[in-house]
Symmetry: D2
Subunit: 355 residues, 4 copies
């Protein structure tokens, strides 16, 4: 533990930012170099040296005031002065589009939690309507972005300068489907149906009509049917066409957690052990995925853990499967996957600070 | 309003029983003949003339004690003495199997809310393992049972002596799918996938590990994958084989309401208005179904209403549909559908007392 | 039922407005004269004749589109043309201050659900900082305002031109305490402590940091300690000084309902029947209050009912009481109390349309 | 960290047991001597070497099966063979009464999470109706039991053989009140009112009518008014008579967390800084209590933390205070307080493994 890698978190005020701060503050490899927090800070708070994190996230402070760090006003000078090596962007898409080129130019490696750099194909990016879409710079940056799911791209992540951290829904579905596609078991022609349900934190911290307690509580609603922007990630990472994926997200009346119920058909009838074998092979070196050999995972199994849990049930004739995939949208669906990516980028144990 | 039909509710202590009592007590046609409540009553309560309903369901009493009716000890003599014409059974399956023959023999028409008489095919009934399965009497009774979904069987219900009130999940799925099957639009070969989610009241009033607040709250879990006993109703009423239906129920952390998300493929690409037309035609005389021509229904739209709400979204190429079907599992999924059946059986307006 | 009183609801878009609309649409005395809804309507909606209520509150429409009324653009001409006799204001405080004088001048009787006219003493009104405070007109209007709690002011309400509908917290506390004060039982010197808890609908429909699901869910928080503006109503209606009342509201993680736990000391030790007698006497003609002679009410007993439920427990020595008072904040705490006031004003049965 | 203290947890299957297991498994001082889990184990499970904890509490296992420990069949021989030094009893009251004498006789120090040994006065113990009440052995054991709240009894706990871990409600109230009583500020004659609210985990894991989701959700209910058995702890530890304490617990519709709102009167008017000073002095060496100098704590501040948070508001004239005290009922209200006691007993840092 001799190294002292300086990290920075930009945008610590959201739900994923808070979890990221917590994980980094307790990360054994960062004991001697706690992350610096930077973002928008108004005049009054600049004067007192930044915004105490404890005012933003009460849970980040202990009784003796340790952990009572501050969000500093962001500046590139600050990043350079502190010799920041890895920068986490928990910022809106547009801001990530704007900042990443500058960071790379300054030699800072970036883990971007937004959707800015996840998509390789322009047709899939279109839904974001990025202002710089098509510019030479944007294309160049995109070309070197690596999709930050270690279970799929461990090798590339290790050497990447820019890691695009996956979407929460996309993580839960790709992890469940990719191993079976890779093993050649699935009838892709038939199509894959992903019925996904997420807690309200997935909708962000801004108060809106849909995040109002009176809307979300005692309710369930489907939204973004055939139009949700995580669809592009699903197609590109699973490697299928739009006609083979039907993805329906729902808003659950709970704070956090995603459960995706996935329906697919096999090319040939399978038995339980063959399917378990496909998963076990694919995840042989993946400490952050737990396979349920019996029974099905549920949201309480994964909330406040860094794991994705996967279980399944076959139809009596072995031709169809129902897969249930669960994770905490703020952790394996965002922050802990970002830390997992950092571990891989820095050559540390992939689950360091996550178990 | 000259007639005075005497009704009886057997088993008023559960959640559906309470809603049924409420609906019947406010039914305009039953003003002069409130229902009689009967069931198991212990010694001590027999002495005071039955159990006051207000002790079971506080909401059934007003400040002046009106509505403070009693659950009387059940006896066939009581039914005969009061000249009960229609008997609602909100009792366990086995009890319904045992009592219905006697009721019919005494000339009492029955609306049975249990699963005892819903299934025509022995292979589907097998899951219930009824003790009298295969007996001549049971077969005879089953032969005249009508599946109590007025939107499908209005005519038969009108003359039926025994109406088997549908399951809650089954109601939400059949109403969404049957009109499109009937119109010949669906590629049944491809299969229908129903991802259904229900509030905890669907699991009944008995305290169990799964109905414990700590299990259900902040959670979502799938259960009964490929094995739920409502599957039989789906197959028989929609008219498809087991290989064409994948049905996955989930337990939602809310008190009541069902939302089913249904995935299907059309034989030929459809546009929105063709699908709306198919629904409108099928439901032309069905007051208890509301079609969303725009947008999708959600659970809050239907909870504490007697309606089933249906909406849908087509894939861009018109080959696939995602249908969302919502209802209150205790009302259109149980009690208010029972009242709707009573209305049809007695020749009253189908929505009498339900709007 | 020969009369046809035209009513109007101004501001139907909030939670209390929706419940008020529902109650009036089903009121037996208003069958032939449904209320007119008016409020702010933008250009585009003016063109189509107002905003369909079903777009605001889905539950207000049935499958055949009945009940699909509209919110019209408000104008005094509309009120006059329709010969509106009773106007419900479910509007912000300031708007009620501004509009009530005009309504009275036009001979329209007003039931105001805001806090604009509830308080007799300037010191208590100060917290609202009304712009017209102290003006001759405001003082004149205030002088004739009657506090709209029929259980206390039935006679005055009957003849009132302006009824100030009480606050939700205030209703639950005053109903529990006033009968015992009136009977001379309470040691007022000792003081009364009201620990009150309310569901989130009490915080209004505007999305804010405090109404965000992530803030309210799985939480409980006290607020407005020693400063909540319902305190003035408590003091004036119970008839005690500020030093005798400690009132602490809390935000409950539920949609609706208030439970107030009230602590007080008797001048002399009491037994249970004496306290029951005091309540029974006070509420002899009050159909909307239910006294629990045994046990204590809880929020589920009253949600979606128009009742206030009261129960209590005495200390073993009879010197202290813990009173539990529950109601639905949107009904007896707002809309149904407004309808109750209308009933009294028009000489109808006080519980008409409320049981 | 050379010592290797062997600990044992008896009764790991409940909610507090699970948290205790988690805390001990991650305790830095127990790295080389993980706790042994023992309890009731049936025949079939004995054969496979005990019940895997992962089957009881899914969260206690990681993807590589580490942490997959077992609950072994309890026997005194096992305790002796393993040389258990500290035994945590997360068992029913009666079992703790039966086992503690044997443990002490065998030289094992005990931290008992039940209510078996918390009360010094027979009148307060009466409510438990212990079978061995009054026996010489029970009296002897009781005489050496220390009430396990380090903030009050740190010195005695250090040397104790038997520590009676406090009740959850009692902890939240005593920590808030004792410092002000100790400072001589409170008018005890006037009395202290504690209005406490707890999440459902406080009611235990057994499925009952009150822990059913349909009872607890969307509800709030008071219970045990003037009769709750934590009252005895309050009286003995605060040092007041029964006539000076009114304690009302309520059941909150949330999984975990307690918020107590406490009302009291000062002998003389106080200002904010004097009260802060009293708390600061009392808690000078207490790392597990966090004082809010501004604002009030709420349940989300403490859930899943090991802290008790305290804040307060004074009446404008400084004669009255409303104190808000929050904690997680399974942690500072049970398990983490037990670990805190272990730390004190073994001479370790009081907050070791808790921050």
């Amino acid at each position: 533990m001799s190294e002292a890698v300086q990290t920075a978190v930009i945008g610590v005020t959201g739900y994923a930012g808070a979890e990221l701060a917590r994980l980094l503050l307790h990360h054994p490899r960062l004991k001697n170099a706690p992350p610096v927090f930077a973002g928008r800070v108004d005049e009054r708070d600049v004067e007192r040296g930044g915004i105490p994190l404890a005012e933003i996230h009460h849970a980040l402070v202990d009784s003796r005031g340790r952990g009572n760090l501050r969000q500093h006003p962001f500046s590139w000078e600050l990043m350079t002065d502190l010799d920041v090596k890895v920068m986490f962007l928990a910022t809106p898409h547009e801001q990530s589009r704007a900042w990443v080129p500058e960071a790379l130019a300054r030699g800072i490696r970036v883990i971007d939690l937004s959707g800015a750099w996840r998509l390789n194909e322009a047709v899939n990016r279109a839904i974001y309507a990025f202002e710089d879409e098509g510019s030479a710079q944007a294309s160049e940056v995109q070309a070197e972005a690596v999709y930050g799911m270690p279970e799929l791209h461990r090798g590339e992540i290790a050497g990447a300068r820019l890691v695009a951290n996956p979407g929460c829904y996309a993580t839960s579905i790709i992890l469940a489907v990719k191993p079976l596609v890779a093993a050649g078991l699935i009838d892709v022609q038939y199509g894959i149906i992903a019925d996904a349900k997420s807690g309200v934190s997935g909708a962000g911290k801004a108060p809106t009509a849909k995040t109002h307690f009176m809307y979300a509580a005692d309710n369930l609603s489907a939204y973004g049917v055939f139009t949700h922007r995580h669809t592009g990630e699903l197609l590109e990472q699973i490697g299928i066409g739009a006609e083979s994926m039907t993805f329906t997200p729902h808003l659950l009346p709970i704070p956090r957690g995603i459960l995706s119920t996935i329906y697919l058909r096999f090319k040939d009838a399978q038995n339980r052990s063959a399917v378990i074998h496909a998963y076990r092979s694919f995840f042989a070196n993946s400490p952050m995925v737990r396979l349920h050999e019996h029974g099905l995972p549920q949201i309480q199994h994964v909330v406040r853990t860094n794991y994705a849990d996967i279980g399944f049930q076959l139809s009596p004739d072995g031709t169809r499967a129902v897969i249930v995939s669960c994770l905490d949208n703020l952790l394996k669906g965002a922050s802990s996957q970002a830390v997992q990516n950092m571990n891989v980028m820095l050559g540390w144990d992939e689950s360091e600070g996550l178990e």
